[in-house]
């Protein structure tokens, strides 16, 4: 299985916004919401006095968003991409709060959370992610890092990579910057909303209780198969047919 990775040479970026609009159009992201971004920071090393740092979901190897999700709607795939199952996402926003990069947003029409997945929905067409393909400065490189002949693997092998990571909430980002980049410590400390944090404690208890109940049900199931009860001596289950509520 491929292991997708993105590398960004932020020194080439001039913040034209093509990556943002291209991503919005490819992935039906409403204008005004973003799966990716370009940070602007004062930097005297550049003639403009500003340096630009494109970004997006860092596809972390220790993603806090995955930990935060109460419904397991998001996970790190074997292909290196952190994905969201929109069927299971309840839009609670816990993952949004947990992401140190603010790489997630709640889709205003669907109500579920959305984020960069390296344009997974169009990967079968054989085209690179929109932000990679449309960038006029070829800032981003994308590919299968497990293939040593791929451009992304070669850059990773030959160049110094810089990781942008929250000092308080390290997440082992897989997305990296080629050479130096403007600012590396901007990601914030991750924080869960207090109701969600409380729910996680409750959910743990519920999970154990559920597991215990499930164990009981399974045990009863096997017991019934191996040592069946006497149907005639045992109680029967009566289900009401007319809705008038006959008692068993």
């Amino acid at each position: 299985m491929p292991r997708y990775r993105m590398l960004i040479d932020s020194n080439k970026c001039y913040n034209c916004g093509a990556c943002i609009v291209g991503c919005q159009q490819r992935n039906s992201v409403p204008y005004g919401y973003r799966r990716n971004w370009v940070r602007v920071d004062a930097d005297p090393d550049y003639g403009f006095g500003k340096g630009f740092q494109p970004g997006g979901c860092m596809q972390c190897d220790a993603p806090l968003c995955v930990e935060a999700c109460p419904t397991q709607a998001t996970w790190k795939g074997d292909d290196g991409v952190v994905l969201i199952d929109v069927q299971r996402c309840i839009g609670c926003g816990a993952c949004i709060a947990a992401c140190p990069y603010d790489a997630r947003y709640r889709h205003p029409e669907r109500g579920t959370v959305d984020k960069c997945d390296y344009c997974a929905s169009s990967r079968h067409l054989g085209i690179a992610p929109a932000c990679v393909q449309l960038c006029p400065a070829q800032v981003r490189t994308f590919g299968d890092a497990s293939d040593p002949s791929s451009e992304v693997a070669q850059i990773a092998a030959q160049q110094t990579l810089t990781y942008v990571e929250s000092p308080q909430s390290p997440t082992k980002p897989s997305l990296a910057f080629v050479g130096a980049t403007t600012v590396t410590n901007w990601p914030r400390a991750a924080a869960l909303p207090s109701p969600i944090a409380a729910m996680r404690v409750v959910a743990t208890g519920v999970r154990y209780l559920g597991a215990l109940s499930l164990f009981g049900v399974i045990a009863m199931f096997f017991k019934q198969i191996l040592i069946p009860s006497d149907d005639k001596s045992g109680a029967e289950i009566h289900t009401p047919a007319s809705g008038k509520g006959e008692k068993p």
């Binding site: 080439k12 001039y14 913040n15 034209c16 916004g17 093509a18 943002i20 609009v21 291209g22 919005q24 159009q25 490819r26 204008y31 005004g32 550049y46 003639g47 403009f48 006095g49 500003k50 397991q72 996970w75 795939g77 994905l83 969201i84 199952d85 929109v86 069927q87 997945d117 997974a120 929905s121 169009s122 990967r123 079968h124 067409l125 085209i127 929109a130 393909q133 449309l134 960038c135 006029p136 400065a137 070829q138 009863m220 199931f221 019934q224 198969i225 069946p228 009860s229 149907d231 045992g234 029967e236 289950i237 009566h238 289900t239 009401p240 047919a241 007319s242 006959e246």
Partner: protein, 718 residues
Amino acid sequence: MSSKVSRRTFMKAGAAAVGALTCLRPLSPALGANSATPGIDYERVHGYCPFCQTRCTFTAFKKNGKAEFLVGKDGNRWTAGGMCPKGMSFLELADSPHRLTRPMLKTASGWQNISYDEAIALTVEKLQEARRRHGNEIARHLALTAPLWDCRESELAALITMRFAGCINIMPPGEVCISTASSTLNTLLGSGNSTTTVDEVENAELLVLWGANISETYPPYTRWLEKAKAKGVRIILLDCRRTRTSNFVDRQLRIAPGTDGALALGFVNQIIQDGSYDKAYVAENTNNFNALVKDASPWTLAQVAAATDLAEEDIIRFYRELMNSRRTMMWLGGSLSRYSNGMATVRAIIAMQVLCNQIMGSGKGLLTMESGKPEGEKEFVDHICGRAPAGVNFRRLRIAMDRNEIDVLFLNSSYRRYPDCDGLKETLKKVNFVIHRGFFKTEELEVAHLFVPATFTLESQGSHYGAEKQVVWRDKCQNAPGDCVPDWQFYRDIGRRLEPEKYPRFETPSELATLFSNTLPDWKGITVDRLRKSPSGLVGPIPAINGPELLGCIFRDGKFRTPDGKFDFLLKAVGPIIWTPPKGAPKDKDGDPKNFPLTFIQGKILTQWQQTITNFAASLAQFSNGRYVQVHPETASQCGVKHGETAYLVTAFGKVEARIEASEDITPGVVFTPSHFLGTSPYPATNSPPINSILPNYWDRISAQFNGLGCMLQPMKG
């Protein structure tokens, strides 16, 4: 009545249900759940961006009859598949809820929808009526403003129709941008475009971006700056503003706006005085060198420094870099043409290159980003319609409109692109019948009598051209909504009714393009089939079928394209190169430095294209925050305005509200504001009265002038 279920039956049913659910939907990501949309295939359609002369090409991915997203063509040698947000916005604009899709006729009770056929019939009737009224004098009473927002075939169809209608007054789009540079290049060198192709920057030693803000006005071409840098080319930027382009240059000279000509003449004077110009080349290839000596002689180092606000040591260093470079290219920004002294500036810069033998050869020459139109259009129209004299420019047309002399005007572009646009609006109201071709509700509807909706680039096939003189092709991707029709169809349908026997027979742009390439010898090799296969387009001319594209310097025989093959330093029709400050500037004789001590400049920004279409794009509005003026903090302080607050930008001709953006990115004493805002934009982020409403109707001999005027910032409370 009740039914009875045993425990065993219940357990079996339960186990079966759990098993079925497990099969239908994996319970855990570890079991392989994936949210990616199941693969669907798309139809792929070739296209190009209709906006700037970079002319990016793309593949539109089409599903259910509509383009869903665009992918730049990686094989495009000029753009390598890049695009910019402006270009991508038309995907959204084509489906915009604000789009007007029905022809409308203005009546006493307001706008009324009419059919397309009625619109054509009415237009033909008005043209025929004008013909009956004016007879052989008809040419003075009809006009058309370009650009057409569609394709080259639309331009051809419109030109043929206009010619058959008796109209010769075709307003070139460049009158508000590059016409000064283009006309000057054409007159002096015999080509109104770049003298070479952009890939030659890699072969230069020195690249001067003379007012050329490449990264913000033609974003995909930034890659050529990077390529040049990678080859060790030294890049110098001349601009009073620090912009994104500044990130890609070795040095920037923050020259005072509109003083580039003084800097160029200073260099000319310097190398003439010290004898370091290429004497043999000049003797053999130029005329009237002595005229140039005289024109440049006043420009001592001190004079240049006083005019340009540059330090003498910076000027000396710049001149030295130019003299030491064996291969220098100069990229002329559109801004040079937007001051009333633009012609003198462009002449002086060309003279610099000629004196140093830096025009012909690899890694030498002049680049421009606007224009690029391949030759042959006039010859084609003459071939079909017969020869006709040239028409007037817009400055003269405005005078004619003021005199009630224009019967029918085809208004294809924004009138707000011209200075004194409020005055111009009143002038346009004097035209008997104005037909506006557009997309949205803009101020043009106030002066139009008939509106006929046009199509966007995805909705028709056709060709276009770019800065490298490359021709590109697009196929039709999707149907236009309502009664929107492409320009080639609109003008063809009028032309057919005017001259049913003579009007060329074509049903598609492809047929007209084929007729064009079959008619003109230089276009024989630029066939539609070949264009379809080329991701970059084809650089003309290509006289032979399957002939090669010729890149690089256009002077392949070592001669200028002038009647005697030489460069003339003296333009007899214009006179000597006399540089003065821009008309109305604080330092100009007509300026008012007491009341208007600041220098006004306007221009394009990265996320907007001109004054109409892109203002209606939400994808671009997300990058904006309303009209602003960029001003140095010291200047803001002197004017009593603060960063972030709203103030008035005032000229002697009016004022507009704008947010103050105090920044050291602009030199003190200069005020910059974007050109694009529109009073009818549905988005507050791009809605503002047109900036040209506060500018006077200044022109040089060729084009309208917008920059360099004296201005002032005024606090709202004052």
